[in-house]
Symmetry: C2
Subunit: 342 residues, 2 copies
């Protein structure tokens, strides 16, 4: 494995010059640079990342802390992150923390102990507030996707607006009897998680229009659990005319349950979700769209700009902890309509 030394010797220059020539620094004549580059090419030289890290203190890597990777939202954010990081010639170091409490916290501690990255993005629900503030003291740019948090820069859907739009859509169609169903958060609850904000928005709309009040229902996160719970709910005599689901996964479970019980959608029951997962379209699910991959790209763009200002972290006294919220987009399909005339 050839070293910089070998390249320098082959090109007849010093290590210092070879380094400058290959890294693109200026202060090297064009002819020398070309000679060094050719020598490097001939020898098949690949600079040692470890040595560069040690010398520069930069890893050219950004870390991602996520509670899971095999669900749509997280996978999409991660996809956006990976794509944008690649565009900036940065690598992605993945910490799949899993559910908090089930080993997730030990994995977090391992990150604090060993993780070496230039910037960090945490996908929400993986951490509690105390952990987030420890991250903030790491001296590197930290951003969160999926949750507005005071501890770091953050990016996420405007959940309040999403919940509001979903409920308002059904109210506009004439519904006066709605039920909100949300997925249970399997992790340590944070003050106001995404689903809680959607719920609160629903309740505000409900109060504003004087709708019939029904207690919010929580169903399991697994598709199977959600489906069974939805079935039981819809089987009751006084079911509502419309259902506002916290996520598309829940909405789809409701759709399936309705079908199995012979309840016609949207004639007898309207259903609306949030997310616009890929399967929402074929099912004709009306929903509130968000684009997590875009959030992932944006969070990396921010990290890169922060890095450009303070390459070695320690972003002086007043770090940017602003919040970017994305406007939800109502996508009307065929799962919502005016309520049946009683």
């Amino acid at each position: 494995m050839p070293r910089l030394d070998d390249v320098a010797r082959a090109a007849g220059v010093s290590k210092a010059t070879a380094s400058r020539a290959l890294s693109g620094a200026d202060g090297v004549s064009a002819t020398t640079r070309e000679r060094v580059q050719r020598a490097a090419g001939d020898l098949g030289f690949r600079a040692s990342g470890a040595a560069r890290r040690l010398a520069t203190g930069l890893t050219r890597t950004i870390g991602v802390l996520t509670p899971s990777v095999d669900r749509w939202y997280f996978g999409s954010v991660l996809h956006g992150i990976a794509h944008a990081a690649d565009a900036h010639e940065h690598d992605v170091l993945l910490y799949d923390l899993g559910a908090f409490g089930r080993g997730g916290h030990e994995k977090f501690e391992r990150f604090m102990r060993r993780g070496e990255v230039d910037g960090l993005v945490t996908i929400t629900w993986s951490l509690v507030g105390g952990d987030l503030s420890r991250l903030a003291e790491l001296g590197i740019p930290v951003a969160t996707v999926g949750e507005p948090t005071p501890h770091s820069r953050s990016f996420c859907l405007d959940d309040e607006a999403a919940g509001e739009q979903a409920a308002e859509h059904l109210v506009r169609l004439g519904h006066r009897d709605l039920l909100h169903i949300m997925s249970e958060t399997e992790v340590q609850p944070i003050d106001a998680s995404s689903s809680d904000r959607r719920r609160r928005a629903f309740e505000r709309v409900s109060a504003r229009h004087g709708l019939r009040t029904r207690p919010v229902v929580t169903v399991p996160t697994s598709p199977d659990g959600a489906h069974l719970a939805a079935r039981e709910l819809l089987a009751r005599a006084d079911r509502p005319t419309g259902i506002v689901a916290g996520t598309d996964d829940v909405a789809l479970a409701v759709l399936l349950a309705a079908h199995q019980l012979g309840i016609r959608v949207p004639d007898e029951l309207s259903v609306i979700g949030v997310d616009d997962v890929p399967t929402a379209a074929p099912f004709g699910l009306t929903t509130i769209r968000q684009d997590p991959a875009q959030h992932g790209e944006d969070v990396v763009a921010w990290i890169m700009s922060a890095l450009a200002q303070h390459p070695h972290g320690r972003p002086d006294a007043d770090p940017d902890r602003s919040h970017t919220s994305y406007a939800p987009v109502l996508v009307i399909r065929s799962s919502t309509a005016a309520p049946p005339r009683a």
Copy 2:
């Protein structure tokens, strides 16, 4: 940021001894070791990974090359990999290559140029044969999940058996007129991709039992595209009595299309898939189960054992390129039954 030097001075020993004490090497008395550890703790010492990498040549990182991360199969494998890697105190470096041809190959080249890992797992369909053989020459343990390949150690479902079991299940129920629907592979086709092996197995079963022959149908990968294609297929007059789908995603699209067309499942149409995705259960989809997360854990276990033998790669003359195939498991639910009496 305290260095090893500081710890050594605080503990009144040399750097060499401090290093040995903290890394757990022997040749250090118990009392000295404890003194050093306390000093390190007091100072909040965290060893520089970059320095360790440079000195040892080991990154304690394994790389993952995957065509995507936001689909069930890939996400699940990645989850298994991350979990197992964590258990071995290794990090995961993620390269989300995307579809081959759409920038995927440039990302691969970037990995070849910059990627520094102790071991590598490629999730299939991200690469063509030539790339795989280049990886094999990297001098580190390389394994593939999802595809048996001669270029590396590999792990995947026995696709032949899966295709066979699926078809045989329907034949046993009495079907004589089956159609195979598979998802189009959006990437550079490899000689025998997973879906091709399932298809061939289907065709063998079909020939063996002298079933009515129908040309295999390919549908788009997107849920929406698959659904539309399935709808068109089922709307034809002479539809088959049973459908063997290459994956659950396709099977679910068929199920939905059948429902919308008023075709009763399983009375009028049987449908079977492969995968057992989480949504298969609520839909009552009969399927062939596989457990990609387990494959991910196993591939890491293999890499770790290879690393234990040759910590610095270069696994001499005859690297292990054997193939592990997992037995498929038939999960019978309510989407399959005897064909309707004509």
